[in-house]
């Protein structure tokens, strides 16, 4: 702790000032440092995947396929999907913000299994760099879904290497999941009962459950593809008595729950931000907490809605459609709860709040579009069109990436001990909202008009919407590059952050910014519910308001 060299005030005695040099970072078991390792790696992957997207949108700015060849275009969207889903979205919030905040939020010194945590990063880097190598060697053209028989028999791109890399990365996801579940069960501070946990912790728990139970099935299906390509151990090739549809079942059994891995953490982040900046307790805390679990459970029962037109049984299709509508219910509960949290609140609009409201709007919009796709008959028209592309980008980018950015700004003072520039933050948040809608709203229309996915050229009549979408993509790209610059600069130039710059509740704000190596100088105890905000302008005469303020008194 003798850190005489470091003169900077915010670093003294913090985890940042503890030890220096690459070894102290690369071999540290400290969850806060491992979160940084993940953050740097994921940022790199986000911008690599983003660059692919920009190239695709540039190609689509004109109706002819002139910038890249059709073959290159196939590789672009495949690797864009693989990187963005497995190397960014799945680990994004859990491995960075979750890694950093989970122990702080529950008053623990570290995650339960710190060595496993560091190992998970190395496994992640090993697998993802292996796949990146496959890309540099010549790429993959199967799409991120690796559908058989194209992937197992026909494709002559580097499918085996890419699939094997994703297989390895899956284990890092399982390791993180195990660690989070054990940590939440075993390391909660005295008095921190389950129904006093911040919603962020609940969503981490639900995410971890899905990671642990779904990822191994992805591992099994990817290893079967590699075995079929490399060894001829075919179980998907009809000529060998197999069934390509079997792959789709196995793949979506993981990949649909994986969609919830990619949105639940975002829901957790906005559940922290919205109460803080409307100075009100989260409306319907228990319902929001339990709906996360409901999403995790129902998420396992809807995979067949990706296969409505694949030739699965029509009766199975009806059930999968029904369950897909049902899984919308817990999501809707959350949207109503967030909206009612804002009601009569004293709302402020700093950057994290702008991102959270953007999430609320875009997630709702994307979720409603999902109901169109969950309907059997409508899906026949919309399947494999840009409508689907728009739908999942509204959830994944409009939802999860926006929540990630919101969370990053919200906890940036805690993580770095520095404030980010508020003006530039707001500009970036607004640019995200504008750029995103310009990029993806036209794609709903394109899809409805019949524009299929995965084509690098298209008939003239789609030009208007495609050009609008490409123009929006440039705004969106700039809005993501801005934080890279001003957050990076704030590391050295930012104003030192106080322990609780937002006057937020939650244990993570009770320790200094940045936290000491041991997280808390004194082990905290918890005596009340989460989100114990008091609105400075209560309207006591209103029955509804009284009801809301009655909430904190509820026993756990």
């Amino acid at each position: 702790m003798t850190d005489a060299v470091t003169g900077k005030a915010p670093d003294t005695g913090s985890y940042l000032g503890e030890k220096h040099g690459p070894r102290a970072w690369l071999l540290s078991f400290d969850h806060k440092r491992i979160a940084w390792l993940y953050l740097l790696a994921l940022t790199a992957f986000f911008f690599i995947g983003g660059a692919m997207a920009v190239m695709m949108r540039l190609e689509l700015a004109t109706a002819e396929g002139d910038l890249v060849s059709d073959d290159t275009y196939n590789r672009l969207f495949s690797i864009h999907g693989i990187i963005m889903i497995w190397f960014f979205l799945v680990p994004s919030i859990p491995a960075t913000l979750g890694n950093f905040l989970l122990p702080l939020m529950i008053g623990a010194r570290d995650l339960a299994l710190p060595r496993l945590n560091l190992a998970s990063w190395y496994v992640f880097m090993g697998g993802s760099l292996f796949t990146l190598f496959a890309v540099l060697m010549g790429g993959v053209d199967t799409g991120w879904t690796f559908y058989t028989p194209y992937s197992s028999i026909y494709s002559n791109s580097y499918v085996s290497a890419a699939a094997f890399g994703v297989f390895i990365v899956g284990f890092s996801s399982i390791m993180t999941g195990i660690n989070f579940i054990v940590t939440i069960h075993r390391l909660r501070a005295t008095g921190l009962t389950w129904f006093r946990l911040p919603i962020f912790v609940w969503t981490m728990y639900a995410t971890a459950l899905v990671m642990v139970l779904a990822t191994p099935v992805l591992a099994a299906s990817l290893i079967l593809i590699v075995a079929e390509r490399v060894l001829g151990l075919g179980v998907f090739d009809p000529a060998l008595g197999g069934d390509p549809l079997l792959f789709q079942h196995l793949f979506w059994f993981y990949s649909h729950p994986a969609v919830y891995i990619m949105i639940l953490p975002g829901m957790g982040v906005v559940s922290e931000i919205l109460p803080c900046f409307s100075r009100q307790p989260l409306f319907g805390y228990k319902a929001v907490a339990l709906s996360s679990m409901a999403i995790a459970v129902f998420g396992f029962l809807v995979w067949g809605h990706h296969m409505f037109v694949s030739g699965q049984s029509a009766y199975a299709g009806i059930l999968f459609s029904l369950f897909s509508f049902l899984v919308a219910v817990p999501s809707a509960i959350k949207v109503f709860s967030w909206s009612l949290t804002l009601r009569r609140g004293s709302i402020r609009f700093p950057t994290p709040m702008l991102y959270a409201l953007t999430f609320l709007f875009l997630f709702t919009f994307g979720g409603l579009a999902g109901l169109f796709l969950a309907a059997l008959v409508v899906d026949v028209h919309l399947h494999d069109t840009y409508f689907v592309v728009a739908h999942f980008h509204y959830i994944m980018v409009g939802g999860m990436v926006t929540a990630f950015m919101g969370g990053l700004h919200f906890w940036w003072p805690k993580i770095t001990g520095r404030m980010y520039p508020e003006f530039w933050g707001r500009i970036a948040a607004i640019a995200t909202f504008v750029g995103f809608n310009f990029t993806f709203f036209p794609q709903y229309i394109l899809g409805y008009l019949g524009m299929p996915r995965r084509y690098h050229s298209y008939p003239e009549e789609f030009s208007f919407w495609h050009v609008m979408s490409s123009a929006g993509a440039i705004i969106l790209a700039v809005s993501y590059l801005m934080p890279l610059v001003y957050l990076g600069l704030s590391l050295v130039r930012g104003r030192p952050a106080p322990a609780d710059p937002w006057e937020a509740t939650g244990l993570e704000w009770r320790t200094s910014s940045p936290p000491p190596q041991e997280n808390f100088d004194e082990t905290p105890t918890v005596t009340g519910p989460a989100y114990d905000y008091i609105n400075p302008e209560p309207e006591a005469q209103d029955k509804g308001a009284q009801h809301e303020h009655g909430q904190p008194e509820r026993s756990p």
Partner: protein, 212 residues
């Protein structure tokens, strides 16, 4: 409190031991899902090719399979006893771990012998090898043997992983003194039992299908 390292989030070694055992249970749930995915492939194949599966199954030597089942159950007994001794910080647990290892190696030896036999008889329909099976529903039988090699291969890989971990445990044995130092034995025993149970499922599914 002497065993509290700076790297641990727990106050005592006992609490940390509970957490690692819990973590192992969750890992095993995850592993179960991986085998479940592959058993789905098996189920699909068996429903689609009932004749081929039944006839192909009779080409496996059920006696060797039964012997291997018995060996694995004995190895589980050995590691269970090792766990009980380790729980009392009895260093002689190491002997039982070595016995577990030997039984595991014996299992893999017999398994390897079976694979070699099947390769020689032309029952390995992959990697361009000729498939010499001459019974009814050759496609179904080939599908059975692919499932057989995938399932037993993955199981053997899990055995190897377990053996490597027990080997590491024995290599670091002389540094282990206190009760908390032996928690790894219990976690490993859980894993070993799981791999054993997977085999208990695989044996009847692969070796004991009644001829059609």
């Amino acid at each position: 409190m002497s065993d509290t390292s700076r790297d641990s989030a727990f106050n005592t070694g006992t609490e940390e031991g509970i957490a690692t055992a819990f973590g192992m249970w969750i890992f095993l749930a995850s592993e179960a899902m991986m085998f479940a995915g592959l058993l789905l492939v098996y189920t699909f194949g068996r429903l689609d090719h009932a004749t081929g599966f039944a006839n192909a199954s009779s080409h496996l030597d059920w006696r060797l399979g039964a012997l291997n089942t018995a060996i694995l159950i004995c190895s589980s007994l050995a590691i269970a006893r090792a766990e009980a001794r380790a729980d009392r910080a009895d260093r002689r647990a190491g002997v039982l771990l070595a016995v577990t290892c030997l039984l595991g190696v014996l299992f893999l030896g017999i398994k390897g012998y079976e694979w070699a036999m099947e390769l020689r008889e032309g029952l390995a329909p992959f990697a361009g090898l000729a498939f010499a099976y001459d019974g009814p529903d050759a496609d179904g039988a080939a599908f059975f043997f692919r499932c057989y090699f995938i399932l037993t291969g993955l199981h053997a890989a899990h055995m190897l992983g377990g053996l490597a971990c027990i080997g590491w445990l024995l290599a670091t044995w002389r540094h282990r003194r206190g009760r908390a130092d032996f928690h790894a034995v219990r976690d490993l025993a859980l894993y070993w039992h799981f791999v054993d149970i997977v085999w208990i499922f695989l044996y009847p599914l692969l070796y004991l299908i009644a001829p059609a």
